[in-house]
Symmetry: C2
Subunit: 165 residues, 2 copies
Amino acid sequence: MLNPAPILHVEDNEDDQFFLKRAFDAAGIINTLHVVDNGQKALDYLSGSGLYTDRQQYALPCLVILDLKLPRVHGLDVLKWIRAHEEFKTIIVIILSSSPLRNDVDTAYKTGSNSFLVKPLSGDQTTRIARLIKEYWLENNEFPSVSGMVEPIDRFGIKPPKLKE
Amino acid sequence: MLNPAPILHVEDNEDDQFFLKRAFDAAGIINTLHVVDNGQKALDYLSGSGLYTDRQQYALPCLVILDLKLPRVHGLDVLKWIRAHEEFKTIIVIILSSSPLRNDVDTAYKTGSNSFLVKPLSGDQTTRIARLIKEYWLENNEFPSVSGMVEPIDRFGIKPPKLKE
């Protein structure tokens, strides 16, 4: 019953990458976890360009876990880009941010985030969040169809991903 | 930490109303659960009209749990109406439907559903879903600001709620 697609974790902090990966393992999440460390790479991954042209290795994710304060392209701009593409309009995006500023939370939902979680402060809490993501989203939620590739565009003033020569 | 706002359950089937209420109680959800049995009443509740003009008694919900096959106004039209109103654009809406038809799931997400759950077949499963709703949404998710009232409109060909004389 688990969705076999990978999960895309967009996070620049190496500690946060490590703790979420460890928590996913502890929770028994078997989906491949792909990590990208800036917003531009998230766009590259989704549009299948840059380092991520191989869709077999970098399949479209069933879930995007998205930090907000990201280098190069801010998390909210990544979310805008995702929702501006018909192909990704329905992909499940969970914001995982360290600061639940009221304005960030509201803007995230207005931009189309499905959910907004605050980064846990301890390993135990991270495992709890990972378990909830597994039980709620992966085991019980019905996922939308997500398929197809998309041409990178320059909407929202975001530089299109560089294509390999 | 629990969000004190009520939860609005939009469901015409009395058994499903009963089982969800019982499961919410078993899961220890303390939020008031308001139930409306057709789509028009959901619009009335949210817009504070019809039977629901008293905002103290019928406060705006933090969560809408929405069936799809509803009398008078279909669940997807309720969702469209919710997302067409700036005041409710960000309110968390979970579809809880008995049939996960691919088209319904995709349309629900395109229309702005946060999540899509399938109605459980047993009491135990319903309690499990209630517990997950509590742990994931009520205990860990950051809610958007939801406030204000809205004038009923005739968008999407939906009859505006009748006002009391």
